[in-house]
């Protein structure tokens, strides 16, 4: 069973539907106690970094998630803002500390005539090296909605795929048990469902 962290960040239903569609059972986790007995957790996220961290903090998730990922070294997948929350800090609307599971920071996409912000729509991933999440995919095209990004310089060693919107950024990061995707796999049709399947099958063998 996989847990989806519900800290009031909006629509979890799509993610839950997608995981169930590929045959996984899902528990919506509203308190840290509900992490007990799970094989893996997914941290979704839409909205602003600061507000999301505050909600994680007040629901008491910060230490349990850090322990989950770094002490117990169990599988964790961050999606979109959920991936950014894994970083050490973010420059979104001020300075905010993240979960600090990954080194690195979150920066704003700079708009220009050709670079709309938020980056919204389908875009190609460029695979940099082999990992778990993109197995079986050659030129994945996924659905993105975000105004901030994890720079390559920050994710370098763990970045398994990039995407480009006014410059390259980390689209997928993987460090052993900790993984993150900037796009929405639950909204990226075939390629996105494959990413979730890859995560789920890795979890089953963990």
């Amino acid at each position: 069973m996989i847990g989806v962290i519900d800290y009031g960040a909006g629509n979890l239903r799509s993610l839950q539907n997608a995981l169930e569609w590929i045959g996984e059972t899902v528990r919506v986790v509203m308190t840290p106690r509900q992490l007990d007995g799970l094989k893996a957790v997914v941290v979704p996220g839409v909205g602003a970094f600061g507000a999301a961290m505050e909600r994680l903090q007040s629901a008491g998730f910060v230490e349990p998630l850090r322990n989950w990922a770094m002490v117990d070294r169990r599988p964790l997948l961050g999606i979109c803002l959920g991936m950014q929350l894994l970083a050490r800090y973010s420059h979104e609307a001020g300075e905010h500390e993240g979960l600090g599971i990954f080194e690195g920071t979150v920066e704003a996409i700079r708009p220009s005539a050709a670079v709309k912000v938020p980056h919204m729509g389908w875009n190609e991933l460029v695979i940099r090296r082999e990992g778990i999440l993109l197995r079986g995919l050659e030129r994945p095209v996924c659905y993105f909605v975000h105004g901030y990004y994890v720079p390559l310089s920050a994710a370098e060693a763990h970045c398994t795929a990039t995407c480009s919107h006014g410059g390259d950024f980390a689209a997928v990061i993987e460090r052993d048990n900790v993984m993150g995707v900037q796009f929405h796999p639950e909204k990226s049709q075939r390629d996105g469902l494959q990413v979730l399947k890859n995560f789920v099958s890795a979890v089953r063998q963990w």
Binding site: N11, R13, W21, G47, M120, Y143, H165
Partner: protein, 250 residues
């Protein structure tokens, strides 16, 4: 580079998907979930589920449709029709909507766009503009499912909506709706030029070349409804035509 998108627009009325000609609804096409399962498998990039009921139905009926549809929709799902307050908007999102398509309430009161954008973010708010060409060649905005004309052009409505926080514009030609004659490309061009957010063209697609014309007129996304029903693999054929014309699509 971000790809151009193909949007399948599904018009919902009393639990069924219907076709539309000049904003009058004709054939009943069928169950929305079955339609969405097909379009998912056939390479559509986005689904717009629009409640076109003439009277506001019980909210629960449409919420149930959204819930039902999103079970098998692994694409961005925009929903709209009768969004008049934040609570109902929130209920739509909690039931699986990714974006909200807002028309009448937003044009009557642009502050409503602002209110929604503050709660859900601009990326979540699609301002829908229905327009008709007048004899002088201006595009006049209509609200309330095409029943009431406003003293406003499509371009000025688009600017007002984006200033208030809408993150996308869906522009529909009432004249071309269901005509199979193609988009009103001048309307699309005027609106796309008036705003810096993405424009979705809708209304009138009868051949795949019309989709290409929509992109050429400046739309980032091209939508159609009627043409996608009744033929096997329709969205896949549409993508193929876009690709062959050099439009970057998924």
């Amino acid at each position: 580079m971000v790809k151009n998108r193909l949007v399948v627009s599904l018009l919902w009325r009393s639990g069924a998907i219907v076709q539309s000609v000049g904003f009058r609804h004709t054939n009943v096409v069928g169950d929305p979930r079955i339609a969405i399962e097909f379009f998912n498998a056939w390479d559509a990039d986005e689904i717009a589920l629009l409640n076109v009921s003439r009277e506001r139905p019980r909210d629960e009926a449409f919420l149930a449709a959204v819930r039902h549809v999103c079970r098998s929709c692994f694409l961005p799902l925009s929903v709209g029709g009768w969004i008049e307050d934040v609570d109902y908007a929130r209920a739509l999102i909690q039931n699986g909507a990714d974006k909200l398509v807002v028309n009448t309430a937003g044009h009557r009161q642009p502050a409503f766009y602002r209110e929604l954008a503050e709660v859900f973010g601009s990326q979540c708010i699609v301002a829908s503009i229905d327009a008709r060409r007048d004899p002088a060649g201006n595009y006049q905005v209509y609200v309330d499912r095409g029943r009431q004309a406003l003293e406003q052009t499509a371009e000025s409505a688009a600017r007002a909506a984006t200033r208030a926080g809408a993150g996308e514009i869906l522009v529909t030609s009432i004249d071309r709706d269901g005509s199979l004659k193609g988009y009103d490309t001048e309307l699309v061009e005027r609106v796309a030029r008036a705003v810096s957010v993405p424009t979705i063209a809708f209304g009138g697609v009868g051949r795949w070349e019309h989709l290409v014309e929509g992109v050429a007129a400046g739309a980032q996304a091209v939508a159609a409804g009627n043409i996608f029903h009744f033929t096997e693999q329709s969205t896949r054929a549409a993508k193929k035509a876009l690709r062959a014309a050099g439009v970057p699509v998924r």
